[in-house]
Structures are given as structure tokens and as C-alpha cells.
């Protein structure tokens, strides 16, 4: 027996039972069965037709006009049926594109993998989550002897174009010679790369810092990037990590200012992308103070646990819809 015959027979039985008993069971069975008919691509106008046919059987003395009303209802449902069939086909195509994007995203993830440095005196945590499949945020740790460099960048824009652009930045970073690894020089070099290669449509914000783990000195510079926070353990207060400097890719000949910070035991550096601070909840954008509040809440945990908990809280505040790529790094000098 083909599905349509089964459908008709079951429909008759379920409807008869429902009319007799008015029971919730019959309605539940109806819903379960309707999924099967969706699976079998039965369109809604056919359901109307079956309903009408079954009524005629069950109530032989039903008004002729009532029966004929179903012709009208069926006609009315016709376009719904077509929209619904289009749905099936769009969904299939979408799955194709999505699987392509997922492949690209996993290549990207591979490419950008950057293990968090393990250091006796430092406790570092990092999380980076794309809003869509592909990440337009970038971060990288490089650990060479006493120096740990931390880069965090955000391509203006999201998705595939941003990801394309970012794989270039990554490559440019890798080809930095060791001598250039002074924050302001790095930004000036990358600025030229972006200006030359990416075209006028793409801009990149970046924060680049080097932590000297012998002197406990943090040297940094930034190009239009979201300001981080500095946590003073002694006074239990947060301070903005203020930096000046235009985004990468606007002007060939920009120079960047460089800053320094002596890091005391228990102090924390908090670096982020604007996806963290510009999270939008039902009540509007969250305040920067909401981030520092969350840090306070989780401060007793390790840096990695901190960034993960903060991410999960903000994800929930946004109803699980990220509006921008989200990157958060915390570096704490151990007590």
C-alpha cells in the first residue's frame, strides 16, 4: 500500500475517533502522523482533500454546500503547498552551501589554532567564537623564551569575506621576522600589508602586545581596536587599557604609539573584540561594566574557566544568537 492510501485510511480512523471521543490522544496521534506526511512530501491541499472525503464518508447527510466549501479551501491552500515544496528544495540547496562553508570553517580553524601558552607564573585563558560559521576575529599567541606575544584582531565585517581576509593576516604574521616583533613595528608592517593587498573595502582593528615574563612588563600598541581592561589586584579596581591609533588599511604611512604596563602579582590583562562589549540583549547593548562585573563574579576561577563562563553568560543574555564574533583573552600574573 502506498503512503497516500495509508494516510487516507489512518486519517479516517483518527478523525472518526476524535469526533467520537474528542480526546487529546487522537489529536496527539494526528500531530505525529502529520510529521510522517510532511516526510512523505504530502502537500497541504491534499490533506484538505482527504479531510473532505473522509467527512463525506462519515456524515453521508452532510450539507452539499459544506462539501463544496472545501474546494475553495483547497484552492486557497494551493500556494501554501507550493511555498512548502519550495521549502524542501531550498533546504537541500542550503545544506550544500552550508557544508561547503563548514569545510572552509574547519580549514580556517586549523589554520588559526593557537595553543594557549603554559607558564609557571602566568595563567592565561582564551576563547574565540564566530557569530556565523567562519570567524572574522583573530588571535594568536607566540611564546619565545621569556616573551609571550599576544595578537587580537577583528576584520570589520563578518562571515566569508572577513575570513578570506583574515587568512592573509595570519600568513603575514607568520612571516614576521623576529626583529620586527616590537608592537608598534608589527602594526606598522601589517598596516602596509593590508593597505597593499586587501583593497579599500576591508579594514582591520588590532591589538598587539608582548609580555616579558622576566620583567613582568607588558608592552602594547593598538590600531583602532576595542579597549581592553587592566585589573589592579591591590586596589581591586579595573582600568581601561587606553590606546591611540587608526585601524589598519586606511593610510600607508601611519605610525602607532606604544605603551607599557608593569604587571604586579594578581593583576590581570583583559583583551577582547567588540563582539564582547557590543553584545545586544533584549534590554539593549550591554555595558562595559557588565563585563567587569562578570570578571569579578568568576575571578576565583582559572583564566580559562573565567573566559568560558563569561562567554556562556553573554551567549544566554543574547538568546543564543551572537551578533558578532566574540573573542576574549585573560592573562593573570599568578599571586
Amino acid at each position: 500500500m502506498d503512503f497516500k492510501a495509508i494516510l487516507e485510511a489512518s486519517y479516517r480512523e483518527m478523525l472518526r475517533r476524535y469526533i467520537e471521543e474528542s480526546s487529546e490522544v487522537a489529536l496527539y496521534q494526528g500531530q505525529m502522523f502529520s510529521r510522517k506526511s510532511i516526510e512523505h512530501k504530502v502537500s497541504p491541499e491534499e490533506i484538505i482533500h482527504i479531510h473532505c472525503k473522509v467527512l463525506k464518508d462519515l456524515f453521508p447527510d452532510i450539507q452539499k454546500e459544506v462539501l463544496s466549501s472545501f474546494d475553495f479551501l483547497m484552492e486557497f491552500m494551493m500556494d501554501y503547498g507550493l511555498a512548502y515544496q519550495e521549502h524542501q528544495s531550498l533546504r537541500n540547496r542550503q545544506f550544500e552551501i552550508i557544508s561547503e562553508i563548514e569545510t572552509a570553517a574547519s580549514i580556517q580553524e586549523n589554520l588559526l589554532e593557537t595553543p594557549v601558552p603554559d607558564h609557571d607564573e602566568l595563567d592565561i585563558g582564551a576563547i574565540s567564537v564566530p557569530a556565523k560559521k567562519m570567524n572574522g576575529d583573530f588571535h594568536q599567541f607566540v611564546h619565545e623564551r621569556e616573551r609571550i606575544s599576544i595578537a587580537i584582531a577583528d576584520i570589520i565585517g563578518k562571515g566569508i569575506p572577513a575570513a578570506l581576509c583574515m587568512s592573509m593576516i595570519k600568513y603575514a604574521m607568520d612571516s614576521l621576522s623576529e626583529s620586527t616583533k616590537i608592537p608598534k613595528d608589527v602594526l606598522e608592517y601589517l598596516n602596509k600589508v593590508v593597505e597593499g593587498n586587501v583593497g579599500s573595502s576591508m579594514f582591520i582593528t588590532m591589538f598587539y602586545g608582548i609580555y616579558d615574563s622576566v620583567k613582568h612588563l607588558f608592552t602594547y600598541a593598538a590600531a583602532g581596536h576595542e579597549q581592553g581592561f587592566y585589573y589592579h589586584s591591590l586596589t581591586d579596581t579595573f582600568e581601561d587599557l587606553i590606546t591611540e591609533g587608526i585601524v589598519l588599511g586606511v593610510d600607508q604611512d601611519v605610525t602607532y604609539k606604544q605603551y607599557e604596563k608593569r604587571v604586579e602579582p594578581g593583576d590581570m590583562l583583559v583583551l577582547l573584540s567588540d563582539g564582547v562589549t557590543e553584545s545586544k540583549t533584549d534590554e539593549g547593548f550591554i555595558e562595559r561594566s557588565a563585563i567587569t562585573d562578570l570578571i569579578q563574579t568568576y575571578m576565583h576561577l582559572s583564566s580559562q574557566e573565567m573566559v568560558e563562563n563569561i562567554y556562556h553568560d553573554i551567549e544566554r543574555m543574547q538568546n543564543f544568537e551572537l551578533r558578532d564574533d566574540f573573542t576574549l583573552i585573560i592573562l593573570r600574573r599568578k599571586q
Binding site: 491541499e45 474546494d71 483547497m74 484552492e75 494551493m78 500556494d79 507550493l82 519550495e86
Partner: protein
Amino acid sequence: MENESYVKIISEWDIVEARQLGRNIAKELGFGTVDQARITTAISELARNIYLYAGEGEIHIECLHKFGRIGLKVTAMDQGPGIRDIRKVMEDGYSTSGGLGAGLPGVRRLMDNFDLISSPGKGTTIQVEKWLR
């Protein structure tokens, strides 16, 4: 019943007439109510396309008897501007987005066979068939 009938599409009323003709012939040939409605919807869409984009044209409806099977064939023809990008109009989600209705992908779904010839500036001919099961 003649073997071929047609309706000239000039005003919106002619769309209704083409629908009626199609429904009648489909009924006579023995199509069930749901298929009658599908054939009518396809004709409606084709006639409406003529009315909206070509200004005028014709809808022909033929009975088919081939290999012992019975079918119905609808031909929509016009001398309108033609379709510039056929791959685009046959794309799902293209015409339906603005509430424009089923569009040609919808017509293709409603019927069994679909064929389209169009030359820019010369017009468009669309032929669709549905077979009795």
C-alpha cells in the same frame, strides 16, 4: 470535446476563462479534484505571467493520447520581451520572495513535464504536460 481549445489573454478576465477551460477539460479527462486544482493553478500562473509581462498572448489546451496514456498539455505563448536570464527565473525563491506567487518553478512542480523557449525581444513559449495516473 475538441482536441485543442484556446483562450486569448488580453485582460485579467481572460485568466479566469483560461482557468475555467483548463479545469473543465481536466475534469472531462478524468483528473481528480486535487489534480484539477493543480492544473488550474499552473494555467493561472502562466496566463498571469502573459498578462503581467507580455501584455497579451494565448493559452492553448490539448488532450494527449500517447502510448495508451491520457494527458493534458498547456501551451502559453506570447510575443513579449522574452526572458533574459532563464537560469534566474527558474531559481527557487526568486519570484516567491515578493509574494509574486508560484512563479515558473511552481508551475514546473505542479505539472509533469516543463519546456521553455524564449528569445529576448521575440517572445516566450512555455509547454507543460500532466498525465493521468
